[in-house]
């Protein structure tokens, strides 16, 4: 973040110098060249991203007729949103999902510190195994997990049955369904967390561990006194990414549960409600208001995390 905001200034300084030289040497033919490079992308982003944000903001104050046409209704959509009991439920669901997926971060820290041990054999193989779930299509793995969670003959309930436990119908029982989906979310994100944290680990100077070892610090002590504190920037980064993508929960939920699932109202995420209102109920004005709510929640959570990072993130 820091680098991002600093670079334009220093860069433009250097570039200004360059243009000065260029003026002297060649002609001012540079004039329209940059636009040739920039206009296609910037125009596309304007049409497909920037203007849509403005439109969505406007739509959130409108009601959509059945036969097309919109009517300005002021804050009605927002008033309705605060009265809608499915909204707080879905925020809670999204939070629970995010918290479960966040548990993958300490797991990734432990796994990364094991994989990155100097001289560990098969490290590349382990990285491959842990990374595979991250790149697989959510729609495809969702189908597989649905079968694994099957209440009648799925391997999970068979396994529980060995201990005399009657497993629930995981993906169609409220409560269990969210847990089932979140576990898959954790499984999918672990590989990504591992890659980021491993990269952070490799930047920790070896000498620190060697010095600690000479001082007689145990592996566990080294882990908590060197590894974890120096990893906090990486941990902070994957936390931000996990929270943002957690609030985008849709694919796994949609595929593992399905539109017709009776447990959906107690399990749905904010994005699912958005999709349902915008494209199944065709209530695009209300959906736009929910979109704004998603933006506000993500912005607040991210800002909050950046605020409290000073208390626990160590930048060297």
């Amino acid at each position: 973040m820091k680098a991002q905001t600093l670079t334009p200034a220093s860069k433009s300084g250097r570039a200004a110098q360059a243009t000065g030289e260029r003026r002297k040497g060649k002609s001012k033919s540079v004039g329209w060249w940059p636009w040739l490079f920039v206009v296609p992308t910037v125009a596309g982003i304007g049409v497909f991203y920037l203007w849509p944000i403005v439109q969505t903001f406007y739509y959130s104050f409108t009601k959509w007729g059945v036969f097309g046409g919109t009517k300005f209704i002021g804050l009605d959509n927002y008033v309705r949103m605060f009265a809608d009991s499915t909204i707080p439920q879905s925020i809670l669901n999204t939070l629970i999902y995010t918290v479960v997926v966040l548990l993958g971060i300490p797991i990734a820290v432990i796994l990364a510190s094991l994989i990155e041990r100097p001289g560990l054999r098969f490290a590349a193989l382990y990285r491959t195994l842990y990374f595979i779930p991250y790149i697989t299509m959510p729609a495809a793995v969702g189908i597989v997990w649905r079968l694994i969670y099957n209440g009648d003959f799925g391997p999970i309930n068979w396994f529980l049955g060995l201990f005399g436990i009657q497993g629930p119908y995981w993906t169609s029982t409220p409560g269990f369904a969210l847990l089932a989906v979140a576990t898959v979310g954790l499984w999918m994100s672990l590989g990504f967390n591992l890659i980021i944290i491993s990269a952070g680990l490799r930047e920790i100077p070896r000498e620190l561990f060697e010095a600690a070892e000479m001082d007689g610090a145990s592996r566990v002590r080294q882990f908590f006194s060197i590894t974890v504190p120096l990893l906090t920037p990486s941990i902070f980064f994957v936390t931000i990414v996990t929270v943002i993508s957690g609030f985008q929960l849709f694919d796994l939920l949609y595929v593992m549960m399905g539109k017709a699932n009776l447990a959906m109202p107690q399990t749905q995420s904010l994005v699912y409600i958005f999709y349902n209102q915008a494209f199944l109920q065709n209530d695009k004005g209300y959906a736009a208001a929910i979109g704004i709510l998603i933006l506000v929640i993500i912005a607040l959570l991210t800002a909050f995390q950046f605020r409290i990072q000073k208390r626990w993130v160590n930048y060297v």
Binding site: A18, P34, V38, A124, T128, V141, D152, G191, V241, D251
Partner: protein, 325 residues
């Protein structure tokens, strides 16, 4: 300079060491398996450590135990999927789960093509991925180059606005994007699925960071030789940004191949849908033919899995660099 080094660290690294993927020396660009040379040096370091302290062998055994059990758990759904895709429906539903089918049912894979629109959905998926990758790589690298190394009016404000879009969740674009595609008459078409995804604020930013890390000298030399900015870009700068282009290609392939919400919104017929949409809609119709479902989902994942296994280092480096999904 130091801050631009910071933000384009991997770009600088890759330039110094030539081929980032095979060089063992740098940390950021190479999260995956050690090259032969690297393994040897790590081995030596390990041996030295073993020399200084005796008890390390035992703790590595523990590490191997944890890592291999965890690794097996991570890919067990995939193994389960493979076995089930080769079983009969009765075997899938038998209660001590089938470890290996009595007779391997290769025909399940052929049945996928006859019992659902797998062929056309595969074609749609390949087409949207190819078009999106080519479009995005071309447009983002050109714009990224201009923002990194050219001067023009309003550069700062335009960049700031474009970058702020990266932080906005996609739900804020979806409804108007749908209207645009609808008005163009592009619903249920490859063009409709691809159009918004060709443009990417994130891709622009990624490529800008890479171009900022490149040296000035070559560009200056080409300019003195009388090359115009187009020639400088395509002949000199683009080849230097190969690592950045790879990262963008890989991320775009993953996004495009796996994306569900947008194609779900703009396609309503089974023939026009990509595999992600086809699979998620299949649940209702073929809900009880599990081997076919497993075979179909396996085939839908396979191209990405194969791509990953063939170029693991590039994939992990690309995702590690870009940071976001």
């Amino acid at each position: 300079m130091s801050e631009s080094m910071l933000s384009t660290k991997s770009g600088v690294d890759s330039r110094r060491s030539g081929a980032a993927v095979t060089s063992p020396s740098q940390a950021g660009g190479k999260p995956s398996g050690p090259a032969g040379r690297d393994r040897k040096s790590r081995g030596a370091e390990g041996a030295r450590r073993h020399g200084t302290k005796g008890g390390k062998q035992g703790s590595n055994v523990l590490a191997h135990c944890v890592l291999s059990i965890g690794g097996l758990a991570m890919i067990s759904p995939l193994l389960y999927q493979i076995v089930m895709s080769l079983s009969t429906n009765a075997e899938v539903q038998s209660t001590p789960p089938t470890l290996w089918p009595g007779v391997v049912q290769w025909s399940n894979f052929a049945d996928v093509f006859t019992s659902m629109n797998f062929g056309s959905q595969l074609w749609v998926t390949v087409a949207i991925t190819v078009v999106r990758v080519i479009g995005q790589v071309l447009l983002c690298s050109m714009a990224g180059y201009a923002f990194a190394r050219m001067q023009f009016r309003f550069k700062g404000p335009i960049l700031a606005i474009v970058l702020s879009i990266i932080m906005v969740p996609s739900q804020l674009f979806l409804i108007p994007q749908y209207q645009i595609i609808q008005n163009l008459g592009w619903l249920n078409s490859i063009a409709g699925i691809v159009a918004p995804g060709i443009f990417s604020a994130f891709g622009l930013f990624l490529m800008r960071q890479f171009f900022m890390g490149l040296p000035d000298e070559l560009e200056d030399a080409a300019r003195l030789d009388g090359a115009n900015p187009f020639q400088i870009f395509f002949r000199v700068m683009l080849p230097l940004a190969a690592n950045g282009l790879w990262a963008l290609v890989i991320i775009t392939v993953l996004w495009s191949w796996n994306d569900l919400l947008w194609p779900l919104v703009v396609t309503s017929t089974a023939n026009a849908a990509p595999l992600s949409v086809g699979l998620s809609n299949l649940q209702g119709e073929h809900a009880n033919n599990y081997p076919i479902l497993m075979a179909a989902s396996l085939m839908a994942m396979a191209p990405i899995l194969i791509m990953f296994l063939l170029m693991q280092k590039r994939v992990m480096a690309g995702i590690g660099r870009s940071g976001l999904k």
